[in-house]
């Protein structure tokens, strides 16, 4: 089974984003760290994908969740 592609859309100051990234790091899951504050294109991508502007948005192989939802992540990543 190939590794899942994980993207985390976040802002630098958002505490839930930090917790989400820490969760991924602790579980040794590589992820793309996408700072929506730094890049309008990335922000638009997140808004388009999730239909909203709150962070974090976590994309696992095309499925996404808004917010640091540990239960959802554990299920999608087989943890």
């Amino acid at each position: 089974m190939s590794a899942k592609v994980v993207k985390v859309y976040s802002t630098p100051t958002c505490p839930y984003c930090k917790m989400a990234k820490k969760f991924l790091e602790t579980n040794k899951i590589p992820y793309h760290d996408l700072n929506v504050a730094g890049d309008k294109a990335v922000l638009e991508e997140m808004i388009h994908k999730s239909g909203q502007m709150g962070v974090p948005v976590i994309d696992v192989d095309g499925e996404f969740v808004v917010g640091f939802n540990q239960a959802w992540l554990k299920e999608k990543l087989g943890l």
């Binding site: 802002t11 100051t13 505490p15 839930y16 930090k18 504050a37 502007m53």
Partner: protein, 302 residues
Amino acid sequence: MYDLIIVGGGPAGMTAAVYAARKRLNTLLLSKDVGGQVLWTMGVENYMGYQYIEGPELMQKFEEQVKQFPLDQKIGQGASTLSRVDVGFEVRAEGGESYQARAVIVATGKRPRQLNVPGEERLKGRGVTYCAICDGPIFAGEKVAVIGGGNSALEAAYDMVKIGDHVYLVSTTPLTGDQVLIEKVKEASNLTTLLEHEVLSIEGSNRVESLTVRDLKTGAEKKLEVGGVFVEIGLIPNSDVVRDIVKLNRLGEIEVNCACETGVPGLFAAGDVTNVPEKQIVVAAGEGAKAALAAHKYLQRL
């Protein structure tokens, strides 16, 4: 069955957990998240032992300390109901699982108050936000409105004047925040302060496009073109779970005595959800300790 269930994982709940575990109480910590309101705080300069530490980092240290002690933790779900049963109490988590204990500490803190105006619910997460710290940077270069007149609103306004195009600070009353913050914000050239104005509605099709306010003195209505609305109008205690069994004050806070007793034997409360006069991290931690020790004494006498 547990000796003690602690509902809430902020500084009060986590401190209670450490004290309970050290008294060898069989304890369950049930909470939506770890850290609570402290997670929304950038700089903490008045928690003793740390000159300056960021909220999330401080809560991480609390969490690591809790992990050193034996107790059960169910994080990710809050409590949906709490009822008295013959052995003590039964707490049902949001996911449906039930837990019983001889004693309970409610340390559920507070949540942001909403405006309750048309458009707010629909546009939540699409321009309407209650966390300036989380979402501020998303509105860089845009016109935004900050609603509120206290410290949280002033800090949000201060952060946004630095990165936004224009900030409207809308408050139904004169500014009530600290003078230091009022002065910092007053200097901004891209800030418009609208005191004694109320928000009537938030408009926008897919995201926030404007905000309609009313001047409370003249009755005149005005539409402000903004891309974001930061709601910073105070906090509401998360006391719903015990509203039917304990005494709440007029603010909805759980009334406790200085031993954190609620009046219901075996049911204690600590931190911001209670009527403790000061809502501070160091106070919440102290209250959590007192509640756990009171619970321990209660259990010994059973």
